[in-house]
Structures are given as C-alpha cells and as structure tokens.
C-alpha cells in the first residue's frame, strides 16, 4: 500500500497517540496535532502545537502541511475533552469548553482539510464520537451533546463531500482505559459496560481496527456511518 499522509488531532496521548504509532509503523507520514508536546520520535512524524478550537491555529497547521508535505490523505479528529457532571450543576464555561474542542475543533479542522483531501485519490475524514450519544448517558449532557453534534456534522459532510471523493465517517468507542475516562468511577464504567452486547472493556486496538477499515481504498462506498463498539446501536 502506498504511504499516506495522515493528520491526527489529540495525538500526544491515548487513542490519538496509539493511532499515530500504528500508522508510523505502517510507513505512513503522520501529522500530529495537540496542545501539548509529543514524545513520539520518528523521521516521518511532524508535530504541531495547536488548539483545535482556534481557527488561527488550524490555518497555521494546514498552511505548514501544504508547504512541507503538499498533500493530505486522511484527517482523524480525535481531540476531545470530557467533563462529567449533573446537567443542573454543569458550569456554563465547561459546556463552552467542551463544545469548542469537541465540535468546533472538528468543524474547523474538517473545513480547512477539504482542499488538501480532495486532491487525494482516497480522501478520508474520521471523527471520534462516543457510545454516550446512543445511550443518552446521565451525567454526560454536555459531552454527549457535543458528540451528537459531531455525528450530525459527519452525516452532512458525507453528503456534501461525496462529490469530492472524500468519505466521512465516525467511530463511537465504548469505554476504553484512557485518560479521558480516568476520573470516572469503576461502578459507573461497569454499569455502562453491562448495557453493551459485548460486556467487556474495549481496547485502543479495537478503534484502530475500524480506522483501518474506513481507510481502505475499497471502503470508498462507506460514508456517513457511525460505528459503535461493543454492540451499542
């Protein structure tokens, strides 16, 4: 398979970092984006310090990618934040922060990426959602709503970008032991897992597997889909 240029937001840790290492091992060039430094060291790894919710940061990232690499095949919008709280007690600034990173960040990066992606023979956008959307999880109103917005964006972009040969899909991971859910109690996680068809914790590799499927050139007819782990629907 020909080496691809793959941009991953939130690449400094968790799922984003695992995906970056996975693609580097496959010989792809990875452009990592995050607010913090990365400890990934590889010739074909480029890291940008950026806040995905800031349009000026995004402009800088894409102008640099265009200048340095000239092409982009894949954008994976993985950057995200979660704050669990009862709806009635959620501080409004937390809601804004969550919406800015999870939804606005995804919107901005998708928009800036189109011009490079449409020149790729297999342009792909993959957004990260969550099972908190179909499960309507109590205590995750802001987080689930932000990801619900990401899902709607995914469906609409799929329609609008189809004529450019870009597919746009999302993945909704069930609980995975990453920093994102490190503050969530074990009881709550177990209760959530009991709602799944496959009642066990997922691994980052389960996400990698779906990403690989979406990225295959033969997946060119797969777009506008949200794939949840664990049998949630």
């Amino acid at each position: 398979m020909q080496a691809r240029n793959i941009m991953i937001t939130g690449a400094s840790r968790g799922i984003g970092k695992t995906l970056a290492e996975h693609f580097l091992a496959m010989g792809d060039t990875v452009i990592g984006v995050s607010r913090s430094e990365s400890d990934i060291v590889a010739d074909n790894y480029h890291h940008f310090l950026a806040d995905v919710a800031e349009e000026a940061d995004a402009k800088h990232v894409f102008a640099s990618v265009k200048k340095q690499l000239g092409a982009l095949d894949v954008l994976i919008n993985n950057a995200g934040i979660a704050r669990m709280n009862a709806f009635a007690l959620t501080p409004i600034n937390n809601v804004q922060e969550i919406m800015n990173t999870n939804f606005m960040g995804t919107f901005i990066f998708c928009q800036k990426a189109i011009n490079l992606l449409r020149k790729s023979p297999n342009g792909r956008i993959i957004n990260l959602s969550t099972v908190a959307v179909p499960l309507n999880l109590a205590g995750e109103a802001a987080y689930a709503a932000s990801k619900s917005a990401v899902e709607t964006l995914t469906h609409i972009m799929a329609k609008e970008l189809g004529s450019f040969g870009i597919t746009c899909n999302a993945i909704g991971p069930s609980p995975i032991a990453t920093q994102l859910i490190s503050g969530v109690g074990e009881d709550k996680i177990n209760k959530l897992i009991q709602q799944q068809a496959i009642k066990k914790m997922a691994k980052v590799e389960d996400v990698t597997n779906i990403v690989d499927f979406y990225l295959q050139p033969s997946s060119h007819m797969v777009t506008g889909q949200i794939l949840y782990l664990g049998g949630i629907s």
Binding site: K59, A63, I114, N115, R118, E160, S163, F164
Partner: protein, 98 residues
Amino acid sequence: MDLPTVKLTVIGALELSNQSRSDETQIPLTDSTALFGQNGHLDSMALVALLMDIEDALQEQDIEVSLSDEKAMSLSRSPFKDIPSITQYIHDVIAAQA
C-alpha cells in the same frame, strides 16, 4: 490586486476545474459563459470547489479571503454568474479587506 490579475486567477481556477471534466462538459473560458445559476456550467458543489481553488490561489499570494459568505450567496444578483461578475466580486472583497 488589480482586476486583470484577479481575472487571471479566476481563469486559472476554471482551467483547474476543466482538468477534471470530460470533453463534453468543459467550461468555455469566455466572458459570456454562464457559470452559476440559469444555464450555468457549475452546480452548487462545483461552485464550492471553484471558490476553494480561487481562495487557494489567492492564499499563495498571501491574500486571505473568504469568498462564500452568506451575504454573497443571498445577493439578488449572484456574483458567481459569470467570469466578469466573479472577478469584480473578488476584487471588491479584497479591496474591502485592505
């Protein structure tokens, strides 16, 4: 940026569009060619692609503009009707930003 230079940028972007079009759907690069709207050669997504190519070409000349704002889309006389109207519109947007 003067009008003739803007026009060259528009024509360059249209030439790019033509590269991905079949012989039967080539866009004639003349002032009277209808681009968008009645009998236009571009559907809405082809117009989006053209505007992105123009923005891209302008960016390479260090000019950052957004050509597809709500106002432009809702003007009673579409600025995207033909090459002269797009050229004039882009020229005005750049001038207003300067």
